[in-house]
Every structure is written in structure tokens, then in C-alpha cells.
Amino acid sequence: MRRGVVAAALLIAVLAAVPALTSRTAVVTWLFLVLLHAGIAQSWNLLAGFAGQINLGHAAFFGLGAIVTRTLWLGGTPVGWALLAGVSAALAAGLVIGAPSLRLRGAYFAIGTLALAEILRITTGNILPEVSALSVAQLAGYSLMPRYYLALALAIAVTATAWALAGSRFGLGLIALREDEEVAAGIGIPTFRHKLLALLVSSLFAGLAGGVFAYYHPSFYPAFAFNPLWTFDALLITFLGGVGTVWGPVVGAAFFVLVREGLALRLTELHLLIFGLLFVFVVIVFPGGLMEAASTLARRLGSPAKAKMPRIEQG
């Protein structure tokens, strides 16, 4: 446990120092993308990995955070306030549309949220059809540094939340209801309240990730922030890394961005194919993902590293 904390602190220190150590924009951009994706994936993992609720409409919360932040920030609001408003919008959406959809069980929650996200995507595309671009003045003053540190803060906050959750009474309640909702209710866990709280935390961080994306990207179509691809990235990263684990989404994000950026230079579509195949493979053959692979490997080699993995049981 203490070694885990020390390792995490070291990792954070290195990540915080990177912009001072290298002047290469490519490296910082790459790390920014890893942190942003770790943030999205971890926010999805909070609900799916711990509480077992497969949200296929995660892009809706990301998108809401993104367009609210973007609109206010480009309108002249200081970026901090814009981010706060974006997060609030995602939270409100979690409460207003998430609460009724949580009455749906399992697979029905999944397809219900998928439909919800599509409604928001199409409506956004209709209301805001124009591309949202930074002005020339804003581009001239653009610096990657604040974006990078914001993404770092996002990744730290959401991973710390997952870490705190994994050891808490609340987190154990979520895991219990993930395994069997009726039994969990039977032993006195307020299942609906637990699920709702998990959804709110998940949508909060998804909204923040959307805000970071909106602050980072020079130009994008508002409907793009609601693209189901964001949900898919979150799923893919989480499953590749290890669903329901604290470090899975972080490891998965590093792998995902590495492969994607590496392949995108040569063949734009090829990485989607590889990720699709990997995803199906992980779901069927290897439900524990990279984290499980690492601990299995460590056990085979007889290394004591196996004890360090702060993972919880698979669903």
C-alpha cells in the first residue's frame, strides 16, 4: 500500500516535470492525450468497473462538458469558470437523465444511454452546425502548458477517486451490487442511491474531461464531442487496461494513445481495426486486461510485484 503511494507520487512528480525537461511539443502533446484519455476512461470505469453499469452514452456527458465550457470560454468567461459550468452541466444531466435511466437494469441501461447520447448528438448538430474555432488572436496566444497541467489534474483527481473508492465502504457496496443487485439490496445496501452517486461522480469527471478537450482543441464541430467514438474509446481503454481496476484505465490509455498515434501516421483507419479486434479478444478471452496479464506474468516469474496491483475482483 505505502509502496503504491510512493510509486504514484513519483509518477506524478515526473509527469509534472516533463514540460520543464523537454521542449519537444510532440512529447507533451502525446502525454496530454494519454492523460485526457485516462481521464475519460477512468470516469467510465467508476460506474462500469465498480458498479457494473455499462453506460454506452458516456459521450453525452463528455460532450455537454465540452460545449458548455467551449461556448462560455470563447464568449470571454475565464476558463476556470467555464470549466466549472461545463462540469455542472454534465452533473445536472447525470441527475436529470441519468436518474430515470438507472431504473433500467443491466443491458437496458446500456441501450437506453446509447439512445440518449444519440439524441443529444443529433440535436447538438442541428442547433450548433458551425465548426467551433479559436480566433486568430486566441491562436497566437495559445500555449500547451496550461492544457497539459489541467489534463494532469484531471487524471490525478479521477484516479485518486477510483483509488479511494476501491477501499471504501461505498466502493464495496458498489461491487456488491455489481455482482448481484438483489442480494446487495437484501443485505441493506441502498442500491439505487449507490448507483446514482456513482453515476454522478462518473458524469462529473466525464464533463471535466470534455472541458479539457474543449480548452485544448483549436477547432471541432460541436456534435463531434458527442460522437459515440468517445464512449468507445473509454470502453476500449478500460477493457484493455483492466475493467474495475484502479490503474487499468491509466495503463490502457498509454497503450491506446501510443498505438493510435503510431499507426495514424501511416494508415488512419488501421488502428480502429486493431482496437476493435483487441477489444473483442479481451472481452471473450481475457476479461482482466493488461493489469491481469501483468499480475499473471509476475506470479509466473515468482516476483513479489504481484502484491502491488491494487485490483478488485472481476465481474
Binding site: 437494469r105 476493435g276 471473450i284
Partner: protein, 290 residues
């Protein structure tokens, strides 16, 4: 009034295809208790198959049905054997969830393969009879769409006969009812699952061909077709082929009339809102039997 009626006709003709797509999805769901969310991508594949048969060899799209249906049956059988069959003994809830995840990954794979093979462009089949219409007073009915509608109906009629009159069909229905009892009666349940999934995919192939006759196809049409099929299944429930077809037609009419009243951009939203409304009224068992 005439314009409204005209819109309703167009909507009904498209809606018939929603019905065919939905029956394919419902068949696999009812028998295997798995939801194949890459159903729309199978429709897309069927559409491309017809498009290339027409473009390369001039095969009339209506004739190409005889090829797309068996071809997609094979694709479905391979997907079932390779992927979905591994979930078959999972507990129900787990099976459903995992099948959705696999379908999600599969959708991405098929869509990417289609882009790599055929580019992201929209393709359309233009035959000699494309654009010809039947006039009923002031109303017009496009002949190719009418024929597609009729063929979809005939295909479902064939499925109905197969399920009610043949041994294999009865085995599929018995397995959907209760696989354990079916197994005790000597029905080869695993093979029945394979047939049911293959048939569902073959219907996706039929839908794809019929879509390619009236509409443009592109690698990205999958998700919206999956959602359409889901909406119709939720509207109709399981258990009745013709009920599902009628629900598809209704959805088509509602969509095109609301698109006419609210503006075309909201065509897709109306069905999804309807879907969520029904879900919120029947949260536990939306695919309940009628």
C-alpha cells in the same frame, strides 16, 4: 393533406424495412438471449454486396437477394461460432451484457473494414426502373421502394412458414421458449442457436439489399439501423413477426410525418425519444412477450 398522406406513404415504405431489420434482431435475441448491436453493420454488408453485384456484373438488386441472404447467413454463422457461442452458458444478465460489448467491438471492426475496402463514400444503385413511380390520383409511389416493401413482407412470410411448419423452425421456437426443456426433448440446442443467429443475419442481408435499392449506403449507416431495429423491437415486443413488421411501418410513418412537421433534421430523434419513453414505462422487461 395530400402532402401529409404522401409523407405517410414514403414513411410506411421505409418503415417496412425497419420491420425486416427488427425481425432479424429479435430472432437472435429471442432465441439466444443475446443482443447483436452490430446488426446494422450486417445490414451495411448486405447493401454493399448488392451494390457490387450490380455494379460489377449488372445483377439486378432484387435478384441479388438470392445471394445476399445466404452470404450473410454464412457471415452470421461464422461470427456465432467464433465469438458469440463462447457466451452461451453465461448467466443471463452476464450473457446479454457481454454480447452487447462484443457487438460494439464487432461494429467497429466491420465499419473499419468497409472503409478500408470501399472508402467512406456513399454508394447508390441506379437501375432502369429507379425513379419510376406509380400514380394514385395526386399521390406518387416509387415503384422500386414499393417492390422492396413487398419483398420484405414476402421474406417475413417465408420466415413465418419456416418457423411454424418445419421441424428446424419448431426447434428454434422451442429453444426460445425453454432451452433446457428443448434439450431434454432431443433438440440439438447448440445447432439451433447457430441457425437462429444465421437466420437473423440473413435477414440483415435481406434488409441491406432492400436498403440499397431505395437509399444510398455507406460504411457508417450501421449504428442508425441498429437503433431503428431496437426501437421497433421495443415497440413491438417479442413473439410476433407481423406485429414487428407493423411496428416498423408505424415507426416509419411517425418519423416521416414528424420530419415533415418539425423539420427533417429531427427525423432520427423522434424514434429515439419514443424508445426512451417506452423504456421508462417498462424498465424491467422491455422485450417482454406479447
Amino acid at each position: 393533406m395530400t402532402i401529409l398522406l404522401q409523407n405517410a406513404i414514403f414513411g410506411a415504405l421505409v418503415g417496412g424495412l425497419y420491420g425486416v431489420a427488427a425481425v432479424g434482431l429479435a430472432l437472435a435475441f429471442g432465441v439466444l438471449k443475446m443482443l447483436n448491436v452490430s446488426h446494422g453493420e450486417l445490414i451495411m454488408l448486405g447493401g454493399y454486396l448488392s451494390f457490387w453485384l450490380f455494379t460489377l456484373w449488372g445483377v439486378d438488386p432484387f435478384l441479388s437477394l438470392a445471394l445476399t441472404a445466404p452470404a450473410l447467413f454464412l457471415v452470421g454463422a461464422v461470427l456465432y461460432q467464433g465469438l458469440f457461442s463462447r457466451l452461451i452458458r453465461f448467466p443471463d444478465e452476464e450473457k446479454l451484457k457481454s454480447s452487447i460489448l462484443i457487438g460494439f467491438g464487432l461494429a467497429l471492426i466491420l465499419q473499419t473494414l468497409a472503409i478500408l475496402a470501399w472508402q467512406a463514400d456513399e454508394r447508390a444503385i441506379t437501375t432502369a426502373y429507379t425513379g419510376q413511380v406509380l400514380r394514385l390520383g395526386t399521390l406518387v409511389v416509387p415503384i422500386s421502394r414499393l417492390a422492396a416493401f413487398a419483398l420484405g413482407f414476402v421474406a417475413l412470410g417465408g420466415l413465418h412458414l419456416f418457423l411454424s411448419r418445419t421441424d428446424s423452425g419448431r426447434a428454434i421456437r422451442a429453444t426460445a421458449e425453454d432451452w433446457q426443456a428443448a434439450s431434454l426433448m432431443g433438440i440439438p440446442v447448440r445447432r439451433t442457436y447457430l441457425y437462429a443467429f444465421g437466420l437473423g443475419s440473413a435477414l440483415a442481408g435481406v434488409s441491406g439489399t432492400l436498403v440499397s435499392i431505395g437509399d444510398a449506403i455507406s460504411p457508417s449507416i450501421g449504428l442508425s439501423w441498429t437503433l431503428k431495429a431496437l426501437i421497433v423491437v421495443v415497440l413491438a415486443g417479442l413473439g410476433s413477426i407481423f406485429g414487428t413488421f407493423v411496428a416498423g411501418v408505424l415507426l416509419g410513418i411517425v418519423e416521416s410525418i414528424s420530419a415533415f412537421l418539425l423539420g427533417g433534421v429531427y427525423r432520427e430523434v423522434v424514434g429515439l425519444v419514443l424508445f426512451l419513453l417506452i423504456l421508462s414505462v417498462r424498465p424491467a422487461g422491455l422485450f417482454g412477450r406479447n
